[in-house]
Symmetry: C2
Amino acid sequence: MRSAEDLFLDALLPQLGVMPDDVVIPPGDDCAALRWGPDRLLLLTVDQVIGDRHFRRSGPGAATPEQAGRKLLARNLSDIAAMGGKPLFALLAVALGPPEDISWLERFHNGLLELARAWHVALIGGDLARAPQDMVSSLTLLGEAPANRVLHRTGARPGDQFFATGEFGQSYPTGHHLTFTPRLREGAWLAEQRLAHAMMDVSDGLALDAARLCRAGNVALRLDLNAIPVRTPQTTLAQALGDGEDYELIFAVLPGEAARLKAEWPFPETRLTRLGEFQPPTATGLRLADAAGNPLPERLLKGFDHLA
Amino acid sequence: MRSAEDLFLDALLPQLGVMPDDVVIPPGDDCAALRWGPDRLLLLTVDQVIGDRHFRRSGPGAATPEQAGRKLLARNLSDIAAMGGKPLFALLAVALGPPEDISWLERFHNGLLELARAWHVALIGGDLARAPQDMVSSLTLLGEAPANRVLHRTGARPGDQFFATGEFGQSYPTGHHLTFTPRLREGAWLAEQRLAHAMMDVSDGLALDAARLCRAGNVALRLDLNAIPVRTPQTTLAQALGDGEDYELIFAVLPGEAARLKAEWPFPETRLTRLGEFQPPTATGLRLADAAGNPLPERLLKGFDHLA
């Protein structure tokens, strides 16, 4: 249950060498973090949106340029949300293909800037170029978080309850991947209330990302498959586990805090679901099991792989 | 003498709205800058390297993957150099085309990381994806500069002497664009010595970038065309003015400081040349003239345009 991207990063990360003292959270989490004043961190993340990979450029189901620009920022906002942070600044790189002209770019910017204004993100830099064929854009997002409340991927412990926001599966056919609201409010509240103590966002599929959360904490997880909220009545469990692009938060909650979490959850429009319980690591290294402790059937595990 | 990219940015920048107080240098310079402690700035810049645009992917003259990775970081280092800053951290986004495999990517990273180590830059984040056809990479580089010595594009005044490092023209055919040394030492020294008071790097051609430096300071410039150092004996003046990808520094020096600059220049391996003198703005808005004050011949002005 490891993606080619994970394996590549496993090989790359040790090559990066010793990190400077200013780097409080090194590469491998949703964001890296630098010291930024005595009790504040500067969060940093980068994500791409590629034509005909993350959105359709033309034909039926094509995204508007505004939607493509919005998605690029929204993906990055989701990474800041996953740390319990607040977004601040963005730098944008765009490579336009031959079909995309300046008016396409203006609309792309408009979609991005509308979401930026909603979250008070300032675009402070950019680069623009032509690509021979594709449309490729990347955005580096900076945010802040209090140093003593930032949420890492590490920290889940056996006995912790496994929670998730929202619904899963079929993000592409439903258009969710173009319209989702990044869980910034929810993430910041969970950090502020100290209710989550390990968190990440789900971009590559619930199963794959839950396994990453397990790996970061060296724990296993029993997933209550019947409890997983699906996006539509037609969405299958395999789709909910594997489709990706959900941009929901998954997190670990102390067993004694689960009741308070449910009682005080202040976001009626955002579903909150307990999806299982973390376990001690297994001798085999298996991370995910069903509620009875049996390995998940292979047919459910088709994790989205960015290098596939 | 304005590029399509300049005109696009002119339209975009006002849309970005009021910048937060933390943004000390807003978009439009070589780097943006954020306040980072009482007397330190955090510099930020982003640049792309695109296959078959910034390097050849295959065939005669193809760059090695190591050279492509090196170039991506080197371009960004040149932007930090242009502010008199010191590079610190990088975030990398890579979209691999179908021909590029994981071993290509490893070599790309190796080229990038070798240069990163040489300048003590830590790679703190990244994103990896597949593009349908192209190879597109972008890097966001963070650096630092003392708040009271950072060098902007603005600030050139009539009477200032116009200086440049290095040689110009034919960067592509000579391979200079793959092997150049970013002028970090020179930029930091000029800032430290307070010898330059407006500076930028030349990436889009000497004429175009000199015109941008003029525009930022609302001045004009008389260029001593005979003084422009060309990269090879075969390099024409038009190539030196227009080819781009030189990654040299151009800067304004107080008339009374030019002699000290030349006397104390501590980089024997880096040519330093006086290329002209800044003038009051002209009634017509013309920025560049020859040493006699005549407009530069059109045949010499074929500025490299990233949107062409």
